[in-house]
């Protein structure tokens, strides 16, 4: 007894009774890399003599960060990934498929109760469907892919309880930005976070992904939620694997419990150059914006595109503003096409990218100029993140981003209340 979700999943996978602070060797259910990390995964893999992929169903690579390739160097890495995949008969999601953190759960690779590693820091995203998933580097990933195991420090857990009801124009993105602003960029370092409360319960699974996605921005190893009926329905719709939902014990030991009431929350904005530099949107209204980026593993899902379309419908973006929209996966792209969102975007003056990470990583598809300000639905606004250290990035919800694109300055999405 007295175990958190993270302790239970690590116990189950390490045949031990894992408690916070222990170091355990545990079995990994699924692992993957993306194009920024897979080159080094392959290098590490080759350094281990006679290594083979532990389970071909439990590993894949996703070409999403610089996709399609913007230069010869990246093309060589993509080529290396494809060649390795052919040699070892493993799955590659190639150019145009989408972002790893959408593709992995959407393709049914991970289900409740799983222990998952990704060579990408936002692997914590699947905590929303009760998966203990966390980011590691390429060498860790190569070892997990070849042995099916990794070492874990069992984390302490912070319980975050979100109560109240979300006002119109305020979204799960605003909730997590608010929490990160409060906890700070290192407030949860090496800890796991569990999100509970009526607000979390009321969110769709897609909206929950946005919250778990950003757990790493406060340093957390994972951002876990319990599996409810919505989770189980979602998982069963996307996967044939058997989900094994894990609840924390009623008397689980938490290192901290933090309570939030979001009933009066304003839309939130993370200001340059740290994710925890968060304020109410009222404080930064009118800030000039040159580029708006809607998409990424944080907010590139159908519901995000839907709210964007509601605000943009029949309108055009402000003069001189670049609006860049990137669906998170082909599935989402097709659904958005069918729903008419893509036509609304194009008519509004947006550049619609192929599914992938888009301009978030700063290698292509929207690199900023000196002195430019961007408003992005992504999860990071570090100096230089979008390719230029002489530019600034503000983070917020898709609704705030769409409203901002129409005005060319940071704009409260609640001005479009009637459309939401």
């Amino acid at each position: 007894m007295r175990q958190t979700i993270a302790e239970k999943i690590l116990s189950e996978h390490s045949s031990s009774r894992a408690k916070a602070g222990d170091i355990v060797i545990a079995k990994v259910d699924f692992c993957f890399g993306q194009d920024g990390t897979s080159g080094m995964i392959i290098d590490s893999f080759r350094k281990m003599k006679d290594a083979s992929i532990f389970s071909k169903e439990a590993f894949c690579m996703v070409i999403d960060h610089s996709s399609p390739s913007p230069n010869i160097g990246v093309s060589a890495i993509h080529d290396k990934i494809r060649a390795f995949a052919r040699e070892h008969k493993v799955k590659v999601f190639d150019v145009g498929c989408g972002v790893c953190h959408q593709l992995v759960p959407e393709s049914g690779y991970v289900v409740c109760g799983d222990l998952v590693l990704g060579a990408d820091s936002h692997t914590c995203t699947y905590g929303a469907i009760n998966v203990l998933s966390t980011g590691v580097g390429s060498t860790d990933l190569a070892i997990a892919a070849s042995s099916g195991k990794s070492w874990f420090k069992v984390p302490e857990t912070i319980k975050i309880v979100v109560e109240g009801s979300l006002p119109k124009g305020v979204y799960s993105k605003d909730v997590i930005l608010n929490i990160i602003g409060d906890v700070g960029a290192r407030g949860a370092t090496y800890k796991s976070v569990e999100f509970h409360g009526s607000v979390i319960d009321a969110l769709s699974v897609e909206e929950r992904f946005t919250i778990s996605n950003m757990a790493v921005e406060m340093g957390a190893k994972s951002g876990l939620m319990v599996a409810d009926k919505k989770t189980m329905d979602w998982v069963r719709r996307h996967s044939n694997k058997v989900p094994k939902p894990v609840l924390p014990d009623a008397d689980a030991k938490y290192s901290q419990i933090r309570n939030y009431d979001v009933s009066d929350l304003s839309p939130q904005v993370a200001c340059p150059h740290t994710v925890d530099n968060v304020c109410d949107i009222e404080k930064v209204l009118g800030t000039r914006i040159d580029e708006v980026n809607i998409g990424t593993c944080t907010n590139g899902r159908l519901e995000d595109l839907e709210v964007t379309a509601k605000i943009l419908k029949g309108k055009t973006v402000a003069d001189g503003v670049k609006l860049i929209i990137t669906p998170a996966s082909v599935k989402i792209y097709l659904a958005a096409l069918k729903a008419g969102y893509i036509e609304i975007f194009v008519r509004a003056g947006a550049a619609v990218n192929n599914p992938g990470c888009g301009p978030c990583v700063g290698t292509h598809q929207g690199v900023l100029a000196d002195g430019e300000n961007a408003f992005s639905t992504a999860n990071r606004n570090f100096l230089g993140r979008m390719g230029n250290p002489n530019a600034s990035i503000y983070l917020g919800s898709p609704a705030a981003a769409a409203a901002t694109a129409l005005e060319g300055k940071i704009t409260d999405p609640r001005e479009h209340k009637r459309r939401l």
Binding site: M40, K47, S147, P389
Partner: protein, 168 residues
């Protein structure tokens, strides 16, 4: 030979984008080349200050952000003996020991830029020769020590054919 501490202008929350920007990590495959671009978005030519065996000293949450392993690889290739910080972000912490870069966690307020430093690994003490101060660092967990001893986790795995601590 004496080894010295190097401090950046910013101290806390130095993320892996700052250590090695996405602009370079995709382009440059050679570690020594990559090492020339460490902290390029923060300060010009920082890498030129580092002599083999020197130390980087920082505040809280060093290495937060992206999981890019190029970050510890580039730091190691720059010639650093270890990074000394008040705390480290989780993924960076793993990556560093995995690639054989030593991290030491301790109070860093008593170390200034260009102080002469020595490390006593047996007694977990950092000696600040310039100031005549000894600083305790947190003992490195056994499993990470084993990785460092072998020069990284890959060499360790090759030697033991897996994790020798495995009980599953």
């Amino acid at each position: 030979m004496s080894n010295f501490a190097h401090r950046l202008k910013i101290q806390n929350d130095i993320n892996t984008d700052y250590i090695i920007s996405g602009r370079f990590k995709f382009k440059i495959q050679d570690e020594k080349e990559l090492a020339k671009y460490i902290f390029a978005d923060l300060e010009d030519d920082f890498h030129k200050k580092i002599k083999l065996g020197d130390f980087l000293v920082a505040g809280e949450n060093f290495g937060c952000g992206s999981s890019r392993e190029q970050a510890p690889v580039a730091l190691k290739a720059s010639g650093l003996q270890a990074v000394i910080a008040k705390s480290f972000a989780r993924i960076f912490y793993r990556n560093a020991f995995n690639v054989g870069l030593c991290l030491l966690e301790c109070e860093t307020n008593y170390i200034d830029d260009m102080d002469e430093i020595e490390v006593d690994f047996e007694n977990n003490i950092i000696k600040n020769i310039s100031k005549g101060v000894n600083i305790d660092f947190k003992p490195i967990p056994e499993i990470m020590k084993n990785f460092l001893d072998k020069g990284g986790v890959i060499e360790y795995i090759k030697e033991f054919g897996g994790f020798k601590e495995d009980v599953t």
